[in-house]
Each structure stands twice: as C-alpha cells, then as structure tokens.
C-alpha cells in the first residue's frame, strides 16, 4: 500500500515537472499551429548550458534559471525571426520539417561542444529527500515541481492578465480578426515562440538536476512531451498539465509494477490510442479547421 501511494506521489511530482517541459510546446502549437519538434532539443540545450555554468561557477542550478530563461527567450526570438517566420507562409508541413532539421542540427552542435557524454548537475540536495511518515520525497523532485508550478502560474497570469496575453490568445483563435483590430501578428508570434523556448530555459535547468543529460536524450523528451500534449489536447495549457500528471503517474506505475524498460512505451501507446480514439485529447476543443467531418 505504501508502495502504491509512494509511486503515485512520485508520479505526480514527475508529472509536475513534465508539465513544465511540455508547456512551451503546447503554447507554440496553440498559437501558431506548429509542432516544434526542436522544443526538446532546446530543453537539452538549456540543461547543458546550466551544467556549464554550474560546473564553472558553482551557482545553484535553480538559481541559474534566472540566467537560462532570458537567454533562451532571446534564442527563441532569434530562431523565430531568422527561421520560422520565413517559412510560415508556406505549407505547415514545411515548418515541421524545419524544426526537425533544427533539432538534428542542435543535437549535432551540442555533440560537438559537450561530446556525447552523460552530464548531471549535482547540487548538495540532489540525493537528499524529505520524509513524510513512511513516504520519501526526493528534494530535487519537489524543488523541480515547485519551479514548474511557479512558471506555469506566471504563464497563466501572462496569458489572462496582460495585454500581450490577450493578444496571444486572440491570435491563436483568429489571426485575421486579431490583425484587423491592430495586433501585430508577427511580433505576437515571435513573442509567443520566445516565451515557449524560455520555458525550456527553466525546464532545462530543472532537467539537469533530475535527469542525466546528453545530446541524444532529446528523443526521449520528444516522445514524452508529444505524448503529454496529445493526451491533454494539443494547444491547451491546462490540458498539458493534466496530461503530464496522468502520464507521470502512468510512467512510474509502469516502472514500479512492470519494468523501467517499458515505462517510456506508455507515451507512444498513448499517442497512438488518443489520436485514434479521441483526437482532441482530454481538454482540447476541436477547432473548426481541424474538423474532418
């Protein structure tokens, strides 16, 4: 019984962090209709960047998010303006191929810079835990989940309480209409994309404590984050949170009661089953343009 509670609790903590990893992906898809396959590569990049700063300066990785986040925001802005914006007018399939190429190039660049070696950031608390009764809560996992909650709350405030947030939401629902009422779609898109990559800045720092990082680990994260946003409903931020929690628990349950090898398979199966049975996911509304009869 304790094992079950422990497993579920751990799954929720992991899911909380997954929500952060997937949030930027679903935000960018919701506003621009682009599946940014390179998003996990940016997560890994921010993780290696955190590793670099931590190993040189010894600053706490969670504190380093104050550096990685603005840097990744700038990277996102440049990538949007330099690459994504230029192919947006062509078929959406081209922007997917573009981000795919970007993911591969990033992996290569990271391999050239950091070599294909596992890196982990190990602050003092990385192997400590909180003990609540018989339950064990790893400190790093709890801190990561807290960081995720803060970021998601800020994202929520940004989207609902600011002018830019309203502009983003209107652009996601009706770009032509938003343009008509004076919203500069180009700037809003660049801002959204940059915000999306900025979440990967926080996410990468958190990831560097919780997971060993190396360039090719992007593929595991491609599967996980895509599974999350498909289950939650593509483009829905609350959906991504829900999907992340469900899949975090499903993954730890599988790892505990079946085997760790099969736990990542949960994500592939979820993607295939959800898109076959309920394509709009748990919380996604089917948009007009999505409807195939």
């Amino acid at each position: 019984m304790t094992l079950l509670v422990q497993t579920i609790l751990l799954g929720l903590l992991i899911g909380g962090v997954y929500a952060l990893f997937a949030s930027g992906l679903t935000l960018v898809f919701g506003v621009m209709g682009i599946v940014n396959v390179a998003h996990p590569a940016f997560l890994v990049l921010a993780g290696l960047f955190t590793y670099e700063l931590w190993s040189r300066l010894g600053i706490d990785p969670l504190l380093l998010t104050l550096v990685t986040t603005p840097v990744m925001f700038a990277v996102g802005w440049l990538v949007y303006k330099g690459l994504v914006a230029r192919v947006r007018s062509s078929a959406t399939s081209m922007s997917v191929v573009l981000t795919f190429g970007l993911a591969i190039a990033l992996e290569g660049a990271m391999g050239m810079t950091w070599k294909n070696v596992f890196r982990s950031v190990t602050p003092v608390y990385f192997n400590q835990s909180f003990h609540v009764g018989a339950l064990v809560l790893p400190k790093a996992q709890v801190f990561g989940c807290a960081a995720s909650a803060v970021v998601l709350f800020l994202l929520y405030l940004l989207l609902t309480r600011t002018w830019m947030g309203r502009a983003i939401r209107s652009a996601s629902e009706n770009p032509e209409g938003a343009h008509l009422v004076g919203i500069d779609i180009g700037t809003v898109s660049a801002f959204t994309f940059a915000i999306g990559i900025a979440t990967a800045g926080v996410g990468g720092s958190v990831m560097s404590i919780l997971y060993p990082i190396f360039p090719a680990s992007q593929y595991v994260w491609i599967s996980r984050t895509l599974g999350i946003i498909v289950l939650g409903g593509m483009g829905s931020l609350p959906g991504a949170v829900l999907g992340a929690l469900v899949l975090g628990v499903a993954e730890t349950l599988t790892a505990t009661y079946v085997s760790t090898q099969w736990s990542v398979v949960v994500f592939y199966v979820v993607i295939l089953v959800v898109l076959l049975v309920k394509p709009e996911g748990l919380m996604g509304a089917r948009m007009r343009k999505d409807v195939v009869a």
Partner: protein, 618 residues
C-alpha cells in the same frame, strides 16, 4: 509544394528526347557498373545505399509530396521489413530474397494501422503519430528480447553464392526495387487515386465535398508509401547480414529520407531518386571526415534547414522553372478573354431523368429539422428547421452571424450537428460523411472560392467523383469522356479557353464560375451556393444569375446564401430568412419583403439603405 502536371492533360512527348536519352544512359550505366567493376565493393555498397534511400524517399513522396502528410517515422517500414525477414529466415529455411515480399506485407499491414489513425486527423497529428510509431517499434525491438533478440540484434545467414559474385544480387534487386517504386509513384500520379491525393494536399475539406473519400485515400497512401520500403528492408537486412533495433528503427534515417525527397523535389517523380544520389555521398563524406559524430548530425540538420529555407521546391522544379522562364513558353493568359462570353445559354444536360423544373411547391428535396450547432458557449445554429422544394431556387438570407454558412456546413457534412436531422430526398444524411452526401447529389460552393490552386482548371473540373469505387481508383486521372464533359461545362460557364491554366491565376469571379462547373461534374440534384455574387464585378453578377436560372430549368435545385438583395430577390422563387440561428420567416420574395418579423430582424435596418444604394453590398 509542386505538382507535376497530370500526364493525361499534357501533350504527348516524343519518345526520343534528350531527357529520355539521358535516362537510358544513366540506366545503362547503373546496370553495367557491377559487371564492369566487379571488384569495386566500396562503390557498389554506396550505390546499394543510394537505392535503399531512393526506395524510401520515393515512398515518402507519396504520403508527404502528393498527400501533404509529413512522416518523420518513414524508416520504421525499413525496420519492419528487415525484422520480418530476419526473424523468419531462422524458422523457414528459404532464401531471404523469397521472404522479402513478406516484409512488404508486414509493412503494408502496419501502414493500414498507421493510416487508420489519420482518418480523423490532420497533418500535424501525422507528424506526431509517425514519430511515436517509429520509437514504439524500436522500443519493442529492444525490450521484447525473447522475440526480437533485443539490443543484441539478429544475424542473418551469409549468402550462398561465391565471393566472385559479391554484392551483385543485392545491387540488382534494390536497383529494380527503386525503379519499381519510381514507376509506382509515376503511375499513382496519373490515376484518379493520385489526383485525389493531390486534392487532399491542396484542400482536404474541399476534396471531401466533391466526393473524394479522404479516409480511404489516406490509408491507401500510407500503404503505398510503406509497402516497397518493407520489401527493400528485407533485402537490405540480408545485405547487412546483421540487424539491431537502433540501426533499423533509426530516426536519422528518416532525416535522410526527408532531405533526399525535399532536395530532389517534393511531389515530383524523379526528385527523391535524385536526392538519394546526393544525400548518400554526403553521408559518406561527413561520416568519414568527422571524428566526432556531432559534425555529421550538425551538417545534416543544417542542410535540411537550408533546403527548407532556400530551396523549398527542390532541385527538379527549381531547374525546370529556370528553363521554362528562359523559353518564355508560358502563354500570357491575361491577354485572353477574361470576361466570359455572353452566349445563348443552353445548359448541358444534367442527371438523366431529372424532372424539368417543377418549380416551388414541388415535393421537398431537402428537409432540415431542429438543427443545433454549438461552438463552445456559442450556439451558432439554434433549432433551425426548413424545407426546400425540388426544382426551386431558394434564397437563404439573414444578417451576418445568423448562422447561414454554418447551416451549409452542417448540410454538406463539413461539420456534424449537435442535434437535429437533415434529409435529402427523404433520406437522413446528417451522419454521413461529406463525400457520401456528394454521391447522393449534394454539391456546395464556398464563400471564398476553394479551387485546388496548383491544379489546372481542367484538372479542377474533372476532380469530383460521383461515387466511390475501388475499380475507379487506378483509372486514368482524366479520361477522354471526362475531359469532353469538362470542356462542355467550362464552355457553358464561358471559360473554355482556360482549361490548361493553373487555377490560382484566375480572377475571383472566374474561380466562382469554375467552382460551379466543378460541381456540375458531380451531376448534383441540389446545389448550395455560398454568396455566388459576393466580391465579384457587377457585370458578372447578371451572368451568374443567368447561369443559375438555366441550370434550374433543367431541374436542378438551388439554395443560395447571398447578401446582394436585389439579385437574390429577383432570382429566387422562395425565400428563407434566418436570425439568431433559426429560420424566422419563409415565403415568396414579395411576401418576405413585407413580413414584419423580417423587417424587424434584418431588412428594417439594411434593406432601406441597400435599396437606396441600388444593389451595393452591405
């Protein structure tokens, strides 16, 4: 993305051209190579890799190039074929060459599963599904070690032939497979099936509305894209003599597939093969030079990004574009007649046995009852009921946002209602797919016209399908009979000279007329026109009215959404008025104009101003 012109429409080319001579020469050189240089194992191996990539990129072209659904997991089919042969060869002791077709069968079966997941989804979902599929296959390969051998992989028997033969059997088998794959795409492109795929790529909703059964097409396209890759995988496994999950279900192979097809020219016949000839040597060079593996990935990713940015059409279409620009062979269509001729209108005969115009008061052809459609909190259509008499010209008017277009979408099947029924000729159709409604004689136009921009006017007009038949899929895209019929219809709308022109070059009004001709190809009983006079020059409005009237005399029923009041009141013999998602009044045009409810809801504000402006759009 570019489409090759459907060959049936293009003029026949002479057999002996520079192009064909070049192909023959290249083919002869490839066939002769192992015979002339039997000891050159390195280059034979490179060519074998090129052939394998050529098969894969050509297959990918069917789903991504023709259909517009990008797959990032295409290499999974190679692994499926390889594992089928690798596992079977230890159980049934026959030559792997004989087992390779079974690899194709397994790939095809998995493609059906994969294709089924996109029956209700669009392109972005396919990207995700294919990635998940590839990783799932890899994970099964690694984890189900009792069955697949896990990460240790599988060793295949060595070929029984002597060393002198070398890799020649693999070489010829894979060369033949690459040519077969290219032949298949060429053949698909010239069939009805291929034209349906291109229609899906250009505008999937529109394709469904004109009778393309998109779900079946998408599944078949997935199968066509995977089956030969499965066969190639079987032969490739025999060639490698060792396979493992990481090498066989490798996303980096997918990168090469995408790059080869894009570089050569997406949607072209030979582009993917040309791309394979460029990508494999590039792979060899970067693999050889780079000590660290990162360089290899970096170069590939960068080249892929660069191709998308700077050469999105690929080499073949770009070069062809240069050549054509130099020849100035394109005719300047602007100089041709751009306003349709005003000729005596005799509409071409429609569906045999249609009663000539019974006029209003005939039996109801379309009955809509209690239709409700909600978008989240907004109820766009709220208990809408009306009926349309056979042979009538029924106008459907109402203020903006009253739900007219949504009703059209519900009737034509673009959307499903939350409640209510739609009956056509007494048969309930609200649960049918758009194409099934098209087969029953329902046609619609769109507010902003939706022709397939990259197809020619002629191809647009012959694209509709009156029924779904498996036997029809491999038929010629444009048969002689269809071409004649299309010409007749184009002539009827006054655009007979425009057949070979790409649809995107037409003016808005011309597009509306072509869209009408396209619908007539369906031989419909009922046509829903969404703002036929919207946004076109006033001179054409009269022409469009005449066209509609002439068709109505043949027995065709129309429902017309239109904001041009003088036109619709003059043209129609029955009117429906919508406000707030339901029909609030119906009757003759005269009766409507004096109906208090209508005046209150709608005409009260707009009609007076409009009458003063004499037919200007509100």
């Amino acid at each position: 993305m570019t489409a090759e012109p459907a060959p049936a429409v293009a003029a026949r080319r002479p057999l002996l051209t520079w192009r064909n001579a070049l192909f023959a020469l290249a083919g002869a050189a490839l066939i002769a190579f192992p015979l002339l240089r039997p000891g050159d194992q390195y280059h034979q191996t490179v060519l074998i890799l090129i052939f394998v990539l050529g098969v894969m990129a050509t297959g990918w072209n069917v789903i991504a190039g023709f259909t517009g659904y990008v797959s990032l997991g295409q290499s999974a089919f190679l692994g499926l074929g390889a594992y089928t042969v690798g596992l079977l060869v230890h159980k049934v002791h026959v030559s792997p060459f004989l087992l390779a077709p079974l690899g194709g069968v397994v790939a095809a079966v998995m493609a059906v599963l994969l294709g089924s997941t996109i029956m209700r989804n669009r392109g972005h979902a396919y990207v995700i599904i294919t990635i998940a599929f590839l990783f799932l296959m890899q994970a099964i390969g690694l984890n189900a070690s009792g069955f697949t051998g896990g990460s240790d992989g599988i060793t295949l028997p060595l070929p029984p032939w002597g060393l002198g033969v070398g890799n020649a059997p693999f070489y010829y088998a894979l060369l033949a497979l690459m040519l077969l794959s290219t032949l298949m795409t060429w053949w698909i492109r010239r069939t009805k099936f291929g034209m349906g795929l291109v229609a899906i790529r250009e505008d999937e909703d529109k394709a469904a509305a004109i009778g393309v059964r998109t779900s079946v097409y998408k599944v078949l396209a997935t199968v066509a894209s995977g089956v030969l890759i499965g066969v190639a995988g079987g032969i490739y496994a025999y060639f490698l003599s060792f396979i493992d999950p990481r090498g066989m279900f490798d996303i980096l192979v997918s990168v090469q597939i995408v790059l080869a097809a894009l570089l050569g020219g997406l949607g072209t016949i030979w582009g993917p093969v040309l791309g394979a000839f460029l990508v494999v040597p590039m792979n060899e060079v970067t693999n050889g030079v780079a000590a660290a593996q990162g360089v290899h990935l970096f170069v590939f990713g960068l080249v892929l990004v660069a191709v998308v940015m700077f050469l999105p059409r690929g080499l073949i279409p770009t070069v062809r574009g240069w050549v054509e620009a130099r020849r100035k062979s394109t005719v300047a269509f602007e100089r041709r007649q751009s306003v349709p001729r005003v000729v005596e209108l005799s509409a071409p005969r429609m569906r045999a046995g249609a009663d000539p115009a019974p006029g209003p008061g005939g039996r109801p052809l379309l009955e809509v009852d209690g239709l409700v459609k909600r978008f989240g909190g907004l109820t766009a259509v709220d208990g809408c009921s009306f009926s349309v008499a056979e042979g009538s010209l029924t106008g459907l008017i109402g203020p903006n946002g009253s739900g007219k277009t949504t009703v059209f979408n519900l009737v034509s099947g673009m959307m499903r209602p939350n409640q209510g029924s739609v009956r056509l000729g007494g048969e309930a159709i609200e649960k049918l797919q758009p194409w099934d409604r098209a087969y029953r004689g329902l046609g619609r136009t769109f507010q902003s016209t939706r022709l397939f921009p990259k197809l020619t006017v002629m191809e647009n007009v012959v694209a509709p399908l009156k029924r779904f038949e498996w036997a029809l899929l491999p038929a010629d895209a444009v048969s002689g009979r269809e071409a004649r019929r299309a010409m007749e219809l184009l002539d009827f709308v006054g655009l007979a000279d425009f057949g070979p022109q790409p649809a995107w070059q037409l003016s808005f009004g011309q597009k509306k007329l072509v869209e009408l001709a396209q619908l007539l190809m369906l031989e419909p009983r009922l046509i829903l026109l969404d703002e036929p006079a919207g946004g076109i020059n006033p001179g054409l409005i009269e022409r469009i009215s005449d066209t509609i009237r002439a068709l109505n005399k043949q027995g065709l029923t129309f429902v017309i959404v239109e904001h041009n009041m003088p036109m619709v009141l003059e043209l129609c013999d029955a009117m429906l008025v919508m406000a707030n998602g339901r029909v609030i009044a119906e009757g003759s045009p005269d009766a409507i104009q004096s109906d208090r409810k209508v005046l209150d809801a709608y005409l009260g504000e707009d009609w007076n101003a409009e009458a003063a402006a004499e037919g200007a759009r509100p």
